[in-house]
Symmetry: none
Subunit: 229 residues, 2 copies
Amino acid sequence: MTAKTVLIVDDEASIREMIAVALEMADYRVLEADNAQAAHAMVVDDQPDLLLLDWMMPGTSGIELARRLKRDTTTAELPIILLTAKSEEDNKIQGLEAGADDYITKPFSPRELVARLKAVLRRTTPTGVEDTVEIDGLRLDPVSHRVSANGEALDVGPIEYRLLQFFMTHQERAYTRSQLLDQVWGGNVYVEERTVDVHIRRLRKVLGDDHQHLIQTVRGTGYRFSTKE
Amino acid sequence: MTAKTVLIVDDEASIREMIAVALEMADYRVLEADNAQAAHAMVVDDQPDLLLLDWMMPGTSGIELARRLKRDTTTAELPIILLTAKSEEDNKIQGLEAGADDYITKPFSPRELVARLKAVLRRTTPTGVEDTVEIDGLRLDPVSHRVSANGEALDVGPIEYRLLQFFMTHQERAYTRSQLLDQVWGGNVYVEERTVDVHIRRLRKVLGDDHQHLIQTVRGTGYRFSTKE
DNA sequence: CGCTAATGTGACATTTTCGTGACAATCGCG
DNA sequence: CGCGATTGTCACGAAAATGTCACATTAGCG
């Protein structure tokens, strides 16, 4: 796996320095910028994998930059973590609305930073080349985005597709509804946990009698995909 | 997901109280201690999932306790959040060097506390950290949430599962019904002690003749999980 | 050996969790 | 804009899990 590039945008050099050291120890490549203009240019030119963005900066503020990047389709995919000295709820909400994928309140430990960063990258990085998965006659083809059972095409909706894909690539492991919401729906969405049940149900229905046994309910916990038992 | 236990260590009862209320509303189990000695004992005995530790306390200071815990391999994994009234950098650095995973400056909002706490727990409880345990052909796999005996799957309910997991990871030691209620059911529940007996019985039943001898009755005390005798 | 307290055991009522169909809101697209 | 597809939520019932009791059995003691 190639090293990820992280662009740090903060007007205080000391903070950039501290973060840079922590990230380099964790094997990330680091770019730095001290204002929004420069940052914007670097995003376009160097295409970092993640943006660490200070909330408050002279000139264009961090949140403004975030908004701008998220509006542009060529940069909208870039995950953003906001750094903020303020811990009020308002800012958090504003930040998330602006399209940030996470936010961290200063002061924070380097360890925390790296952990959050990993988490964000994990859920925003497409797993590279997605292979076709076939289990028990059930086949999922990421290229054509189709699912078939014993050669016959199945009609699955987008969410059911992602759910099935997640399950097929993570067999033999029980997931809670909360984890599934994180992994399949994506991090910061507010959806009822029971909604997962409904989609499980829909997926099972499409899979039909031949394959619905693959999705097992783990009472008191959640669900599991498995060929066994 | 089983409720996490948080040990609050602060010499001021009012602060402990405030925190305890906030945490209980967020479905955490709460333990309290008002000095470092007691705290250390509780860490060993009750094995909390997280330590909320006041910086300044009479006698052994919070930071001293943190250092001590981090030095001992049996407690080094326990995540620690330092509470401090002082916001100076020095303390922060000292705190992080002592091995604290995060620190919070008083005063703080309960909401912030819970948020930080969640974050720390999330990143210190890697989902795969629980190892599969296998004893005498009896196997419990926390990842797939499965129990099997000599390869054959066993049908255990949620409580029986947790009970067995607790026993398998705490062998050779007798536990009272009260302790089991704490550890398996979770702190603040009101259940009859005899209920433990019933679940022991149910667990023994699913374990079958092959393995039920592993759960031994300690008359006058409680139960013990052991391969011996 | 008999007595008593502790534990084992089956049955039952209650609570919790899950499956399921229906429905309204929203989205994508022609 | 209008249409069907997709999605999230709810309400209801079924199924599983749980807690408690009553009674049976056992261990330990004089």
